[in-house]
């Protein structure tokens, strides 16, 4: 469960719809004309009522200050906080991190990037510290650039790891080519759709060597996803 604290109703709505569609249901407080104390009390009540995994927090809330709110949250809970803000200076970013934020995303933000960061924080939070990420019995070691399945291990190229990592983060959900491309650009792999397709088919070929026949599935007109490999 995510908690979205954002005063613009449209942004709140769209963020919550998008995240819901990608497997993250959320709660969103929807009145911000109250004082800082009232808002803090409301957020604390929400944190106690439901198990919140992560908070998306806007800094400029109507009458309140997101940075102060973050500090208040930190005093009662260690839930990860990602700041969303229209401000661009390094100083604000630094203040955000000092107030106990885990990440800082600038508006207008890219949704796939936001999603990837949320997933990354959640994966890190839920797993014992390790460099590997798992999906359906396959594990991907990001640092070593290795993929293992049923005792077999194979080296992957840097770019192949980047593609797989995003698919792993979104396991069980369809990833559109657009959002995959957006994520890859953010990670310095500047592909267009043709190059992505070439990379995907090469990746599939290599996974076949591991015995994974149908691990990356193409859903026509929608995108790709990783799924249980049914032989």
């Amino acid at each position: 469960m995510l908690l979205i604290i954002e005063d613009n109703p449209n942004i709140r709505q769209e963020l919550s719809d998008y995240l819901e569609a990608n497997g993250h249901p959320s709660v969103c407080p929807d009145h911000f004309s109250c004082s800082q104390e009232e808002l803090t009390a409301e957020i604390r009540a929400l944190l106690e009522a439901a198990p919140v995994d992560l908070i998306l927090l806007d800094i400029g809330l109507e009458a309140c200050d997101g940075l102060k709110l973050c500090r208040e949250i930190r005093s009662v809970s260690s839930v990860p906080v990602i700041f969303l803000t229209g401000r661009v200076s390094e100083e604000d970013e630094l203040t955000g991190i000092l107030m106990g934020g885990d990440d800082f995303i600038r508006k207008p933000c890219s949704l796939p990037v936001l999603l990837a960061r949320i997933n990354r924080i959640l994966v890190r939070k839920n797993q014992a510290p390790s460099e590997s990420i798992h999906a359906f019995g396959v594990s991907l070691n990001v640092l070593m650039g290795q993929i293992s399945y049923q005792e077999k291990t194979m080296e992957l190229s840097k770019n192949e790891v980047k593609i797989l990592y995003y698919l792993f983060l979104n396991k069980g959900h369809v990833v559109t080519k657009d959002s995959l491309i957006e994520y890859l650009w953010e990670n310095k792999f500047y592909v267009d759709e043709n190059i992505l397709n070439v990379n995907l088919s090469r990746l599939r070929r290599r996974l076949r060597e591991l015995g994974l026949e149908n691990f990356i599935k193409t859903i026509p007109k929608k995108g790709v996803m990783v799924q249980e490999d049914k032989q």
């Binding site: 942004i11 769209e14 229209g86 661009v88």
Partner: protein, 328 residues
Amino acid sequence: MIAFLNLFCMIALSIYLVLMGNSFFAVLPILIVWIVILAAVWGGRYYRFRKRTIQISQKLDQLDQKYLIYETLERPQNAEEKLCRDILHTASKSMLEHVNCLKNTQRQYKEYIEEWIHEIKTPITAINLILRNHPGGENKRIQKELSHIDYLVEQALYYARSENVEKDYFVKEFPLFDALTPALMSNRTWLLEEKISLKVEETADTVCTDEKWLTYIVNQILSNSIKYHRSEGAWIKISARREKNGVFLVIEDNGRGIAPEDLPRIFDKGFTGGIRDNRKSTGMGLYLCRKLCMKLGLDIQAESVFHEGTKMTIGFPTGTYNHPDRRD
């Protein structure tokens, strides 16, 4: 005036004394003594006056802010000087008040612009999210226009800030290519749509500067390269090389290029060039680039072969000056 008065008195006294029966030779010593005393007094006064003017003009030369001269003046020595001094005081005071008033207005305006830009980001983000979540026929086109709005808004922000970069910047050491990613990201849809192939030859070079300002500069250069791309087989190449005196970031394209007569003027404010389709051009982009580069102590150079391509080079001097930890 005083000279005439003295002369008149001298003549009147001599005539009077001669008429009273004194010989002219008896009067002569009086006149000589009179002239000598007068000359001595005037000479002394001239000497003091000259000394004072030289002193004041030297002080004036040494001052950075000439209008502060009033503060350095010594006590007035006579009524005339006092009057001048008072006039100077009133005049400079009223000028300072006026300047301060303008400075205040300008500062408030700048703050308002910055605040406005942060505010406008909210609706831009909202529109962007709505478009992303509800794919439909015209979304791509709206999104493209929206990213152009965002680009122009950023330009306004950086222009408002460019006046006092030194107050806003945050120098640190970072991998050069990290600053490129956000710039490439914001031009991503445009690049993909125009089918411009992008060759990024990443290196591990690090530079010491303000990352956000650099991203902005690269963004400006990239958007020019995209705007003036050729219709077939367009490419943009980004590379870096390390030399003895610094790291150089090179952004090349095979676009329309710049006419040789325009090349020296592309960094001028408001220059939009001859052949270009100027509807979208504000003549601000490259001007801001050079201004920011100068403030950050970076070097920016443009080379171009007309109709064949443009090559922009940003130079980051290696030295200790900009390094936060190595500065003495």
